[in-house]
Amino acid sequence: MALIASFITQGLQMLLVLALAPLLVGFTRKVKARLLRRRGPSIIQPYRDLLRLIRKEAVIAENASWLFRVSPYLIFAATWVAAALVPTFATNLQFSWTADLIVITALLGSARFMLALAGMDVGTSFGGIGSSREIMFASIAEPAMLLVVFTLALVAGSTQLSAIADFMVSHASLRVSLGLALAALIIVALAENSRIPVDNPATHLELTMVHEAMVLEYSGRHLAVIEFAAALKLLLYVSLIACLFAPWGIALTGNAVSAYVVGALSYVGKLAVGGLLLALFETSIAKMRVFRVPDFIGIALMLGLLGVLLLFVSGSF
């Protein structure tokens, strides 16, 4: 019985992230529009976009290979699995021991690897631009992310997300190293999700583009799957920050059913706050030149290293 229940909660989480991801994107767009005194599209517009895209025929470049057609699904699957492994409304789900935070980071790395290859598949200059810049950003953002993971693991004694979240709920305390890790994680999240100031998700055909350049040749259902994966990734990072640094309300193992309801409600609330803050941040800052971005992500790297160093020197920071 308990096994079935835990399978059901794991399944629920997988469906929940799928259902909420486009909503988070729509909400963020709406808030951004309101902040700019525009009315903005409806909050459920991303769902409509996805539906519209999957109804269209897919136009594929003449010399595209099988890799081009397979990648969107693999990217989506890797991102979905990663998102489903981050605790959202409850910790210690059935499969949470499958992968720790390092694996989740690496799964996103796998998705990026496929996306960068897909960008180079057709052999256009825009694809090459996007891929070469993406791998440059990633080569700084990934170590930064891993240093954040180290910080958290040294504080909580595990790289397992559920274990870290449990620790944060029970031993919550203000620490310098955690503050550094939070700042670094936010920078990494902005970079990984191609948000301002690293990349602009709202524009096309801008010479500084990265993510949009890689997916330029995609259309129809393939594009829908990639866009969905991007939305999932945004949701993943917001849930990650929420479960690590604001774990309040999350249901722990053995809690009653009501705790799960509270967990789900607080999770939706946290997502809303995350989207709101993201929109606020994005409207108050300008996009950076591409070669200033390494400095920006480099800050995350330095903060992460500083956090780990502090913890190595003394466990109480």
Binding site: Y73, I102, L107, S139, A163
Partner: protein
């Protein structure tokens, strides 16, 4: 006893195959005969290694003394768990290369320059692993170097190859000299050649430090540690591809074995700064190796540089193991050493695969230059798929095997705050960051390499006309690709198989993983950090299938082929694609400016002129310029100085002799 006898018989068989290769020079099917025989011998040796690893922990080491070699001394041979592990790794790679050779060797222009040396090379590597005294170790080591040198020189008509062979010979000689001195110090003034007496010897801090440094130079120069790596990107690519795979994937592991044997086994207690030195050297090697791989235009040299990176990762693991060992943290040391050995196995698998792939590209197009390749995924679909598997494995992406060893190394880094030394406390977090940086750059490197060679549009006529390679080559590539996947999905049994080896060195081993459900691995029970490659793989597969199924049911299934969109301005020339230099441009600007002295200059034509603008890229190998290039200059200058001694009068010569005598006597008088 019997297993060692079988191993020796197989090695003797390899030597016999070498002779056979010369004797049968007229036989048309000589190629097939020689490589098949080598493959059989490798299978036998692999089985011996695996059986020893699978045997119970308490099994005594097989020992044997042969009455050949130096008079009254003989050759001591011994197979313990460490040799057995490396026997397995090396002969797995050797088997793959032999199978590959059956197909690839047919294209060899002068097979007589490769065939006799190939089995001899394998035999030399196996003998190094079994040697139990310094004499046979060094002789086998030299034999291995010379046999591989002969194959590097197979295409001696090219000036570049001759230079590579020259540099390789010099560096191999230098490394052997360092090893000779290492063994001299280990044996001590009254010492004996045999390892068993060396193991019992005591060393003061100075000689222990010297032994460590000399072992690092001797083994490190063969493995490709920076700054002793200079020969590796020259020599490895110059050889035929299956030999490159052996040199890069396998021979570097023999070097790692040599280092472990000397420092962990024979030396006893290394000096306190040993871990510090190894960690620093490993980190520098990892980052510089991968950065140079990212800048490289030649596919095989790119792979050779990436070998340097992976050797750095292995030495980081070894350095962590040393650090834990000296602080009496056996569980952590066992984890770090397991990670290093696992990575050694992984690297031998995917590097063999990638070199086989580059050989296939070379056979199909006769090109190694990235800027003359492209679009091969259409012409060589199987090779392209297998090369992709190798690229993903080496980029440490889950669920393949490269990720597992990286993950284990990260877990070892996370155990190091308990180390009391301040120097290590400050260094280890940085090493963790460096490791992550190297992994991310490796992924970038292989996105670039794969994207340019296999994706896009062909950049030359040869690439446009390429055809898939023969089925022996493909079979040789399928095997390591499958093993990469299996080692990624089922890391537990492999960790358990490494267990006895680690126990024989550290005295502890990682907890048994096979008992855990679903092949999960949990390196340290208290931390609850776990990874399950099998489930990650299953989840990804299931999610992909769900996505495909849902879309095929509800989405439009129409597909139309059309010209590429490219923002409305597609250009038919393949030159408009990103090239090898442009794909690495962002990373070059960020990382290589200071580390590799990357300089870009754009020469604009004067206004009104219709000449094209020119872009020039200059990269400098800082290590070569600062360490290697001055050596011939210094030698020439000092030779000029010493030249004066050739034209002295007899009185001056006599006074020189007298002065030398006085100095020597003074030295003798002062000597305690």
């Amino acid at each position: 006893m019997t297993s060692l006898a079988i191993a020796l018989a197989s090695i003797a068989g390899l030597f016999a195959t070498s002779i056979l290769a010369v004797a049968l020079s007229k036989l048309p099917s000589r190629n097939r005969v020689v490589y098949s025989a080598a493959a059989l011998a490798c299978i036998a040796l692999l089985a011996v290694g695996l059986l020893r690893l699978g045997a119970a922990n308490g099994e005594a080491d097989a020992v044997m003394t042969l009455p050949i070699g130096l008079p009254w001394l003989g050759i001591h041979l011994r197979m313990d768990a460490l040799s057995a592990f490396f026997l397995a790794v090396i002969n797995l790679g050797g088997f793959g290369a032999s199978i590959y050779g059956i197909g690839y060797g047919e294209h060899e222009e002068s097979p007589g320059r490769v065939l006799p040396f190939f089995p001899a090379f394998l035999a030399g590597m196996n003998l190094v692993l079994l040697a139990d005294d310094a004499f046979s170790f060094l002789v086998s080591w030299e034999f291995m170097s010379l046999a591989s040198w002969a194959m590097v020189m197979a295409h001696h008509q090219e000036a570049e190859t001759r230079r590579a062979g020259y540099v390789y010979l010099l560096m191999a000689g230098f490394g052997s000299l360092a090893l000779l001195l290492t063994f001299g110090l280990l044996a001590g003034p009254t010492g004996h050649y045999a390892f068993i007496t060396m193991r019992a010897g005591e060393h003061d801090t100075i000689s222990a430090g010297l032994i460590l440094i000399l072992a690092l130079i001797g083994a490190g120069s063969k493995a490709g540690l920076v700054p002793l790596h200079a020969w590796l990107p020259l020599a490895h690519p110059a050889a035929p591809s299956h030999v490159s795979a052996l040199m890069s994937g396998v021979m570097t592991k023999v070097a790692v074995y040599g280092f472990i044997r000397i420092v962990f086994d024979l030396l006893g207690t290394p000096p306190w700064w040993a871990s510090l030195l190894v960690l620093i050297v490993g980190s520098v090697t990892a980052v510089l190796g991968v950065l140079q791989a990212l800048m490289e235009r030649d596919l095989k040299r790119l792979l050779a540089y990436s070998t340097i990176e992976n050797i750095g990762v292995i030495f980081i693991g070894l350095g962590l193991a040393l650090a834990f060992q000296e602080n009496a943290m056996p569980a952590a040391a066992a984890l770090a050493l397991t990670a290093a050995l696992f990575h050694a196995l992984n690297h031998s698998l995917f590097k063999s695969l990638l070199f086989f792939g580059s050989g296939a590209v070379l056979t199909a197009t006769h090109e190694r230059d990235l800027d003359r390749l492209g679009g091969l995924i259409h012409r060589m679909p199987v090779t392209a798929f297998l090369f992709l598997a190798g690229s993903m494995a080496i980029s440490a992406l889950p669920p393949l095997n490269g990720f597992v060893s990286e993950w284990l190394t990260f877990q070892a880094v996370l155990l190091s705050p308990n180390i009391p030394q301040w120097s290590l406390k400050v260094l280890v977090p940085a090493v963790g960051g460096v490791l992550a940086l190297a992994a991310a750059l490796a992924a970038a490197c292989f996105v670039r390499a794969y994207g340019i060679v296999f994706l896009g549009r062909p950049r030359s006529a040869a690439a446009a006309k390429a055809v898939e390679v023969d089925r022996y080559s493909l079979a040789a590539m399928v095997m390591p690709a499958l093993l990469c996947l299996l080692a990624g999905l089922f890391p537990g049994p492999i960790i358990d198989a490494i267990g006895p080896t680690v126990r024989s060195i550290i005295g502890a081993q990682m907890p048994v993983q096979s008992a855990l459900p679903w092949y999960t691995i949990i390196p340290i029970a208290e931390s609850r950090s776990s990874y399950n490659g099998l489930l990650v793989f299953l989840f990804i597969t299931i999610s992909t299938l769900i996505a495909v199924e849902v879309l095929h049911r509800f989405a439009s299934r129409a597909v139309r082929r059309a010209p590429a969109w490219d923002c409305g301005y597609p250009d038919p020339s393949p030159l408009t694609q990103y090239s090898a230099a442009s794909a690495s441009q962002p990373i070059r600007r960020v990382f290589a400016g200071s580390l590799l002295h990357a300089r870009e200059t754009v020469e604009m034509p004067p206004p009104g002129s219709s000449e094209p603008a020119r872009f020039r890229l200059a990269l400098k190998d800082v290590i070569w310029e600062t360490i290697y290039a001055p050596i011939p200059r210094v030698i020439a200058a000092s030779a000029l100085r010493l030249d004066r001694f050739q034209f002295l009068t007899i009185r001056q010569y006599l006074s020189l002799v007298f002065a030398a005598l006085v100095i020597l006597l003074l030295g003798l008088a002062i000597w305690p």
